[in-house]
Symmetry: C2
Subunit: 306 residues, 2 copies
Amino acid sequence: MQKQKFELLILGSSSAAPTTQRNPSAQLLNIAERFFLIDCGEATQIQLRKYKAKFQKIDHIFISHLHGDHFFGLPGFLSSMHLLGRKQELNIYGPAELREIIEKINSISDTRLNYPIVWHTTSNKELSLLFEDDKVEVRSFPLKHRIFCTGFLFSEKPLPRKIDKFKLDKFNVSPANIHKLRNGDDIVNDDGKKIKNKDLTLDPEASRSFAYCSDTIYDEEVVKFIKGVDLLYHESTFLNDKEKRAKETFHSTAEQAAKIAKLAKVKCLLMGHYSARYGDTEQFVTEGSTHFKNILLASEGKKFQI
Amino acid sequence: MQKQKFELLILGSSSAAPTTQRNPSAQLLNIAERFFLIDCGEATQIQLRKYKAKFQKIDHIFISHLHGDHFFGLPGFLSSMHLLGRKQELNIYGPAELREIIEKINSISDTRLNYPIVWHTTSNKELSLLFEDDKVEVRSFPLKHRIFCTGFLFSEKPLPRKIDKFKLDKFNVSPANIHKLRNGDDIVNDDGKKIKNKDLTLDPEASRSFAYCSDTIYDEEVVKFIKGVDLLYHESTFLNDKEKRAKETFHSTAEQAAKIAKLAKVKCLLMGHYSARYGDTEQFVTEGSTHFKNILLASEGKKFQI
């Protein structure tokens, strides 16, 4: 069986002020054809078009916090979904005031959406389950920023057991039984013979996970929520030259992001949310590498397979 | 003397839903180094950077109406001006609720601007003077759209009279007297001789003007406000195939925009605010040309010298 998709597309990698090269925060995550939009900075809808992502496949939008560079693209995106004929329900997860502001903007701009929005209020007290279906779970967890902010944890549910095709040929197994085997059940085959699951299957691939931490000050409290994830996106707004400024503004440096990645024993760290003062981003890897080796850099249009 | 600048830069030419090629409404007008931003659709700040316009030179922003494609870029632009260190006053002209919504967004997104905004409420009852200095006047006038909407009229003040250099050599005229001559005054020259203004000067160039009409249904009431302007921007959302839809949505067709241009005897018509359904825009000229010959097409990054 082909491995199910787990792919992250970067739509914006800048911090507050966009540059000619970088847009404000937004990422599109595809897990098994569920499309999750994470943050929605200004011009996210333009980025989605540019990278040929299908608007109407997005049924879930997660907003970490209400600084403009993380949600100013939402009103326009909601309006365009409407203009393009959306009818199906859209789920939006975010701070309580998000609903209030979007409804106010829609009212004042005379926008009446032809599809229902289901609002889910996030909490920054603890790890909370926001969404779950047969393949994916999404949780929020608290981040420490100037205003209310949460991170998000996206995890595959345990994958089906793998059928051992070499052994399968020896038994007479119906398609219905294949399904039971994948679920981990023992079966009785078409010849009436009882077969133990472990005789015909192999352990599944490990479930994969992605954690999104933006925006946040350096905070070891976050480690317990993101332990061992395959990919950690952790904001790295500044380099060491601005460590003081990072603390004052409740942001992190590249080195601090790498320290968190090391403490959480994640497989891979993805940096982004770069301050506009930095043109070249290679120095983020250099400074992070003193603590953690496996570092990737977010940039517009880049796709990461998890 | 060099002619003073009167230049229009198109930042967005699409109607409600942006496309990969077109951004929502925004134009930057430079008259004698006064920079006027007209409407501010999503990603206007990104367009301004792309076309190397200087943010901090913009001291006046005019918002025609509160449909999202005309103002969703304003919160982010105001925030970026702040982040880039703006201190000087910014004037915003628009419908009454604009201030309310921007203040609500700034409050909820914890944005505290380091510069003062002076709010000017527009009226859609009559022609109203919004701004005036020694070189420029700006007025608003009513447009007929689904919601409150105004157009804007930008006019040069009468230009100084031109010195007739061939005649100047015969008289003994001080620099102070040159200034008086340009203003239309008679002078007494350094030899004590009285000289009539008309003996030394020529009529000035005609003052130029630009009118912005977006969004509006076909409405001949607007003609009196825009009579004889050098350049008329009149929305042309649709072609003739969608004339019914234009009426229903209080928009105009290319042909209707051309009819208004003809009735108002303007020098040149600029079309824009194209519906996303039209890829190629040449048909707008074709259909408009049955009524008016001098038609230009707005597109992103295009500059028009008036």
